[in-house]
């Protein structure tokens, strides 16, 4: 029944409004085609969005196959070429050990992005459990879950992450978990709201009246219908996670040298602020562009989701 929806993640965002249990299959097919056309129209109208998508693709490619994009070793020192400015040979310049900064940024992508994706995944998973339990079961479960959310919201995200890191210990994985914990309340709230919305719909009543079990209702009706808003938040949260992960790495809680990571690259470049501006400028720019792209895509998803 849901085959038409599962073609791509982006289409799910719009499927949120179209209820396939009510519409005949043909109608769903038709509106799916229309949705694709609307997306193409949206893309043509917004060159910024196209650039954002391209940038995200590039970052994914960097993370997946760094060796394709650079021939320099990101870790081996080359003292003869230390602290060279950006040039045709060294696009982003070289650091104090003569390592090519562009290669270090490219090779650092995997750690930064992995940590950010793990963080958002954790926020989403725990937020979904909390939000679904709260919205679906209601009563004291709802009260308890929302009080947990209140506490998590009361402590500023970065401070919460730092406290979690101090307990778990330093390292990229722990930074990812810590950032993930700070992202739970946003997902819990939005998923709870979606569950409440769906609970008041007629197809939910129909499913319940026909004796569908609770878990089946959640999986078959609530999850697909809540995908749209959750996807928007996930895109925005991914941008936030990239920021938080790089901030925590900047403070030195993340990766251990010499392994490169975006935030720690900026931090290492701080020692040469007066002499080698490129060491802090380029890694920071890459972080900024990635977050910008994620935010841009999130906003585009939000807009088309509202229009659909």
């Amino acid at each position: 029944m849901f085959d038409t929806q599962s073609t791509s993640a982006t289409q799910n965002a719009h499927a949120a409004v179209v209820d396939p249990t009510v519409l005949p299959a043909q109608e769903v097919e038709y509106s799916a085609g229309r949705r694709v056309r609307r997306w193409v129209a949206e893309l043509v109208r917004q060159p910024g969005l196209v650039l954002s998508l391209l940038w995200v693709l590039l970052v994914i490619a960097w993370a997946a196959a760094p060796t394709v994009f650079t021939s320099y070793d990101p870790i081996a020192a080359n003292a003869a070429h230390s602290l060279r400015g950006p040039s045709g040979t060294y696009w982003f310049g070289t650091d104090n050990l003569g390592r090519d900064l562009y290669s270090r940024v490219v090779f650092g992508t995997r750690q930064s992005m992995q940590a950010s994706v793990v963080a958002v995944g954790l926020s989403l998973a725990l937020g979904a459990i909390l939000g679904m339990a709260a919205g679906y079961l209601g009563r004291w479960v709802d009260d308890l879950a929302m009080r947990v959310v209140d506490v998590l919201i009361a402590i500023p995200g970065l401070l919460l992450s730092m406290a979690v890191v101090s307990i778990l210990g330093f390292g990229v994985t722990n930074v990812a978990l810590a950032v993930g914990v700070a992202g739970i309340p946003g997902f819990a709230r939005i998923i709870r709201a979606e569950v409440l919305r769906i609970k008041s719909s007629t197809y939910f009543d129909a499913a319940q009246a026909s004796g569908t079990r609770t878990l089946a209702i959640l999986v078959r009706h609530v999850v697909p219908n809540a995908t749209g808003p959750v996807l928007v938040l996930a895109a925005l949260e991914l941008g936030g996670a990239v920021l938080s992960v790089s901030a925590l790495s900047f403070l030195g809680y993340g990766s251990t040298p010499p392994a490169p990571e975006w935030g720690s690259l900026v931090s290492q470049g701080r020692d040469y602020m007066g002499t080698a501006w490129w060491l802090t400028t380029f890694p920071g720019l890459v972080v900024a562009l990635t977050v910008l792209a994620a935010n841009r895509i999130g906003r585009a998803l939000e807009r088309t989701g509202v229009e659909a």
Partner: protein, 317 residues
């Protein structure tokens, strides 16, 4: 109204109690007790050098040898009195440490919030009301850029450009207003971006409301509609965010104070995390939560002044 305030206070007290309990529980439930975490991770100490007797002595001196429920109760009792014990690394009372660092951070946070509100509101108005569409979208994009750039990067760029190149501001330090400008600006940019986005969205929503049409039909000017009708109604969602903005600025101060080598609460936080100085971290979590609760309470009390309809709603609830 008084019932409402009491309810909010009870709720706020609950949030603080939960935050304190959670940080206590997490610290004592994770594998490895605070003493071994302290000895094992602080300053790269080698655990094998520390005799079992020394560990026990340290544990006793910190009161960690007592039964857990007793520790919890005395911890809670002390927290109510804003006593969070002594710092593991300096031995100083935590509250004294924080109180001494507070003025530097408060002045930084206030200036930064001032800049954030001024530029955020300005950008929101420009992005909604400039008569030329490209200019509007330019301002709209700057707000997205504002929330996307890492504040540590902004800080470093500002230092490189305005301190090292142009020499307008000192790059580091705590003295005087000039040393406050760069940290405040770098801290303000993300906050201003968020503020501008939320306010801009609310203004656009408000401008589509029927009462705007009514006001225009009655002949109200563009400026009057904006100030008297649109912004006033649009400011409610923005006010909801003030608590979060204050918290965000305080959390951001950790990074800013580190970069600009300023002795403030943010710097204490970073030092405490590095040294696994848990009493300090717990106190900071408590104060941050308390500030959030307090700011939100104040905001809730100010709502009815901005939007009289809200009094009716709370009275009915």
């Amino acid at each position: 109204m008084r019932g409402y305030v009491v309810r909010r206070l009870v709720h706020g007290a609950f949030v603080l109690w939960a935050a304190v309990t959670l940080s206590f529980a997490v610290l004592h439930l994770v594998p490895g007790d605070p003493v071994s975490i302290m000895l094992g991770q602080g300053e790269g100490a080698d655990v094998s050098n520390v005799s079992a007797a020394q560990v026990e002595a340290l544990r006793a001196s910190l009161g960690l040898d007592r039964p857990l429920p007793l520790q919890y109760l005395s911890y809670l009792w002390n927290a109510v009195h804003l006593d969070f014990g002594q710092s593991y690394s300096t031995g100083e009372p935590v509250t004294t440490m924080i109180a001494r660092a507070l003025p530097a951070t408060v002045s930084l946070a206030l200036l930064s919030l001032l800049i954030a509100v001024a530029t955020g509101v300005g950008a929101a108005i420009a992005a909604t009301l400039l008569p030329w569409a490209p200019a509007r979208s330019l301002f709209l994009s700057t707000t997205v850029v504002g929330v996307s750039v890492p504040s540590f990067w902004i800080a470093i760029l500002l230092i490189q450009l305005l301190s090292f190149r142009l020499g307008w501001f000192p790059a580091v330090g705590n003295d005087g207003l000039t040393s406050l400008v760069l940290p405040a600006v770098s801290l303000a940019i993300p906050t201003a971006g968020v503020l501008a986005q939320v306010l801009g969205k609310s203004i656009r929503t408000a401008l589509g409301e029927p009462y705007i049409l009514t006001a225009r039909a009655k002949g109200a000017g563009r400026l009057r509609i904006l100030l008297r009708h649109a912004i006033r109604n649009a400011s409610i969602p923005t006010m909801t965010m003030i608590g979060m903005m204050v918290g965000g600025v305080l959390a951001g101060a950790t990074i800013t104070e580190t970069i600009f080598a300023r002795q403030g609460v943010g710097r204490i936080t970073v030092d405490a995390i590095n040294a696994h100085d848990f009493p300090v971290i717990q106190a900071l979590v408590f104060f941050a939560g308390g500030l959030y609760v307090l700011v939100n309470l104040v905001v809730d009390l100010v709502y009815p002044k901005v939007d009289p309809r809200i009094v009716v709603r709370t009275a009915m609830a």
